[in-house]
Amino acid sequence: MSTPSRTVEPRAAAGVRTITFAQAVNEALAEEMRRDPAVFILGEDVAEAGTPFKVLSGLVDEFGPERVRDTPISEAGFAGLAVGAAMTGMRPVVDLMFGDFLTLVMDQLVNQAAKTHYMSGGKLKVPMVLRTTLGATRRSAAQHSQSLHAWVSHVPGLKVALPATPYDAKGLMKAAIRDDNPVVIVEDKLSFQDKGPVPEGEIVIPLGQADVKREGTDITFIATSSMVVVALRAAETLAAQGLSAEVVDPRSMVPLDTATLVESAKKTGRVVVIDEGHQSYGVSAELAAVVADGAFYHLDAPVKRLGAMDVPVPFSPVLEDLTVPTPEQLTALAREMCGARS
């Protein structure tokens, strides 16, 4: 079984360039750092190295090592520094190399950043962004492949965005940096080289707006992050077989655009939620529960979920590829739900 290629269909138009996901993130950061001197980046090997994923390449040249700041390998420590800096007038962007390292920053993120505004009765605020990654099938094994966005989505006081395209990556990052709250942005590490159309100039996508990535009438795919492309591919296959799938990308888990999800579910009557987090107790559960409740009287079939298998991510490619939902699985499930026989 092979990993699907990750390029989202460009929706080209005048004044629109095709750039990579990495470039989109880089542009967003550069633009915001130019606009607001309070914005700075800190993390491991963010400066000269531009991160191991090279997403930040060049920023240190423009903004210098004070604002693109290499840290020791101290995730809890520099996340904590970001909280304090944010409380006192700065807008730090924390670079957390792998989403698996969320384990190390949970106290600073959850007990400190997320609660400060509320606990202080609205007096203090923590405008920081934490950028990190999700996604398996990179042969990075169990400690470098997790998709742990469910944890942070469960924490009131945090906002959580999951861009799936270069366009969304840029627009959500800029919104996150301008937001007065701690925002976690989780990027699919396999998508950094994916290309997509991004208009010149300012793009700010408000957190909490779902995006209908493809319209359809027979079934709704609610897909997050890396699974948006899987859903689009499945939708294409299904279209060729006469079934019309709608692909809705919530884009942020918190705030969640419940209305758009439920509306699509009501329209099609059938829903699959696809997400790369482990299926059990993952965000797919919340999305499914919200839709099953909100569209109850319109559903023709139970809401189904496709998450990553409930297993640590295995190293061996033959096993790893089994753990992540594929367009083939989604296609088969959708056909079954629509009563089509293969």
Binding site: A38, F40, E66, R67, T71, P72, S74, A76, G77, F78, A79, G80, L81, A82, V83, G84, A85, A86, M87, T88, G89, M90, P92, D107, Q108, N111, Q112, T116, H117, Y118, M119, S120, G121, G122, K123, L124, K125, P127, P156, G157, K159, D180, N181
Partner: protein, 345 residues
């Protein structure tokens, strides 16, 4: 392990040297009395807090600072209003020392809308942004990152603000502290780590939880250290002033170890405590090492204040505190609608 008496002697010598050099005795006297008043305010505040708990008027529980007053007051004496502090679960003293009002504090401890945090934080999260108190913290060591980040922020914003990070010796068990001390020293950040060694991590003596020598820990990162008798407010103020000056000059972080003692239990409900510390030990600290009594005697010795004047200060403080308690008790609770307010800015 503590080297307390040696440190105390050195600090006292230094203190005498410096204070003697002050030029305007009248200004100096007023400042001394203010320092005295601040310690009394903390002491009296804690008496009321304890009382409110024991009479079931205060929700939850709270950790008393009584006995440790000289540390908070001495440190904050050396800070400007726009300098920052971060505080702990045992945070009333820090909050008062940094300039807070007792009435808004009681209101907070009682969960009232008039409180510093609109009743949403309570004792363990009390914050007072206007006076630079970034907040108490119920995670042991949890504010070490915040303090260090505030220091980084001061540098990035180009101010000469300094940050004092208070924590108990129990926080030496938290790895976070070492992570941020390393960065503070690498980047020469203006932060002073103030370790209040009151001998106990909850119900366990710190020697059972602390290998090696405390000050060797910051020193391992190249951080400048100082040690002080935490019952001697002038000694604390004097040594802190030096550390603040270093920080403002860009010479980087420092670590101040203050030897002190808490009079009450770990929290207000910790009443049977002979199994972990003796009544004799408590009595010794209260009778021989009380920071307010020691300072009061010192002020009288040098004719800075008479017993009467000190008595007047205490009476004024008692009056202030009683009114503050009454204010807190009378103040309304937050509206129910507040429950969903301030989740997001």
């Amino acid at each position: 392990m503590t080297g307390r008496s040696a440190a105390s002697k050195t600090a006292s010598k230094k203190r005498r040297g410096r204070r003697a050099a002050l030029e305007e005795p009248s200004v100096d006297a007023a400042r001394h009395l203010e320092t005295y008043r601040q310690m009394v305010r903390i002491r009296v505040f804690e008496e009321h807090a304890n009382d409110l708990y024991l009479t079931a008027k205060m929700p939850g529980l709270t950790h008393m600072y009584a006995g440790e007053e000289a540390v908070a007051v001495g440190v904050c004496d050396a800070l400007r209003r726009d300098d920052y502090i971060t505080s702990t679960h045992r945070g009333h003293g820090h909050c008062i020392a940094k300039g807070a009002r007792l009435d808004l504090m009681f209101a907070e401890l009682l969960g009232k809308a008039a409180g510093y945090n609109r009743g949403k934080g309570g004792s363990m999260h009390i914050a007072d942004q206007e006076n630079g108190n970034l907040g108490a913290n119920a995670i042991v060591g949890g504010s070490a990152g915040i303090a260090t980040g505030a220091a980084l922020s001061a540098r990035l914003r180009g101010t000469d603000q300094v940050v004092a990070c208070f924590f108990g010796e129990g926080a030496l068990g938290q790895g976070l502290l070492y992570e941020v001390m390393n960065m503070a020293q690498l980047w020469k950040l203006p932060v002073i780590y103030v370790c209040e060694n009151n001998l106990y991590n909850e119900y366990t003596h710190f020697e059972e939880t602390t290998a090696g020598t405390i000050l060797d820990r910051p020193r391992a990162f190249g951080i400048h250290t100082a040690e002080v008798d935490g019952q001697d407010v002038m000694a604390v103020a004097t040594v802190t002033a030096e550390l603040v000056e270093r920080a403002r000059q860009g010479e980087g972080p420092s670590f101040l170890l203050a030897h002190t003692y808490r009079y009450y239990g770990h929290h207000v409900g910790d009443i049977q405590r002979d199994y972990y510390r003796s009544k004799d030990e408590e009595a010794h600290w209260r009778s021989e090492r009380d920071p307010i009594a020691l300072y009061g005697a010192w002020l009288q010795e040098r004719d800075i204040a008479t017993a009467d004047e000190l008595g007047t200060i205490e009476a004024e403080v008692r009056d202030e505190a009683e009114k503050a308690v009454a204010f807190g008790l009378d103040a309304p609770y937050p509206d129910e609608g507040e429950v969903t307010l301030h989740v997001y800015a």
